[in-house]
Subunit: 238 residues, 2 copies
């Protein structure tokens, strides 16, 4: 393309061919065997295979919405709304989502997947495993599909991250007119998770995506749980 | 990369070199002159330059938060929350955002940019202009940067779209276990807007991005205002 001369560019690649994941599987090994990673890549891994590898599956009667709801309430610290079988909850991690993220899709019948206990830790483990196996310094994001207030439909967001700053603070950077910008903290891990979803698809069997070309200045330390999750006390909408 | 054999892939390209935009400028012409578009590209255009081209600038005293708030209230049909100078409002279009989207950044001192009157129409116009000038069938998304409930930071979302279905409904598609998925409407225009922000940046002077490789089945008719904006009456959080 003519605008390729130094203009910012990103590539997103879906990773096919992963086997069915079970408890104890080493996701880093399975990804490293299939992807040619480069330093500075961001590897986005869907929560579902992280939960499976971490054994976060529980038995549930697929014909009983009430049993599923009880599971969801067991994972919640607060119920924001109820509508029929749906509950919008705040999970122990601070995520606000439908049914505490308890999910019956893409798991075997009679099972439900719970969210990872600590998705930042999950991301750190996968990152360390990828470094050990490939020698590549990559960032890792664990993603999930959430609804949101005010807008229909779902988008992917980050549940956990490692090796990347979740929030890029442009406060103080000048705008194109040279004046300081105020209050512009961009949640790049959520934007990267959403971008990755575009090459995944819910049913496409692509649970991992590689994002190449991310601004190197974004790499560093940080946690979704401490930086992205808005604490109850500062939230205007809980 | 080894996984390139038929796996899904996307490219995101930021478009540099656009001049400062003023009222009456033909954005389609300015983009067409600088980008080598291909059929099936999605062209993401930030609201700011759309508002400038459409003359949606008004005078405001930059030292008067109250004057800005009055502007915001004038664009609103409903105030959801107030905190100091910040108001979270529902705009006439149905968007819930800070200060009705009235924005003083990246405009000349003493001016504020209002949201386009009808961002879906803006997207349709740009799309028609790009077709006329390049012969390419592309989709267009007008994007803006919004905060959200429950999570810190901002991400880009779609204000308007043309040539792409905003919501991809996977209800009824089988999951990887062959069972029907329920209630999974993915808001791909918001995900594409978020992805595009990653090559734009607030201060980087890149107000247009090209997304190449989007699933061709997503192209079609639809409107952000009628399909993505959640009407007040069905919203659990207004």
């Amino acid at each position: 393309m003519s605008q390729h001369d130094g203009s910012p560019a990103l590539r997103l690649l879906g990773l096919r061919g992963l086997p069915e994941i079970g408890r104890g599987d080493d996701l880093a090994r399975l990804i490293a065997e299939r992807a040619s990673l480069e330093d500075g890549d961001v590897v986005v891994v869907t929560q579902k295979i992280v939960s499976k590898a971490e054994g976060r599956l529980v038995a549930v009667d697929p014909g009983s919405p009430r049993e599923r709801q009880e599971l969801a309430l067991g994972e919640a610290v607060r119920v924001l709304r109820r509508r029929g079988d749906l509950v919008i909850t705040e999970t122990r991690h601070g995520f606000v989502c439908a049914n505490s993220g308890v999910d019956l899709s893409n798991v075997a019948a009679g099972q439900a997947a719970l969210l990872p206990e600590d998705s930042d830790r999950s991301a750190r483990r996968i990152r360390a495993g990828l470094l050990a196996r490939t020698g590549r310094e990559v960032a890792v994001i664990v993603s999930d599909t959430f609804g949101r207030a005010w807008r229909r439909g779902v988008t992917d967001v980050a549940l956990g991250s490692a090796g990347i700053r979740p929030m890029i603070d442009l406060r103080g950077s000048p705008d194109a007119y040279g004046r300081p910008l105020v209050a512009t903290e961009i949640c790049v891990v959520d934007e990267i998770a959403s971008a990755a979803e575009l090459v995944m698809g819910k049913a496409a069997g692509v649970p991992v995506a590689i994002v190449r070309g991310v601004d190197p200045s974004w790499f560093g330390e940080g946690s979704v749980r401490t930086e992205v999750v808005r604490p109850y006390r500062e939230d205007l909408f809980r």
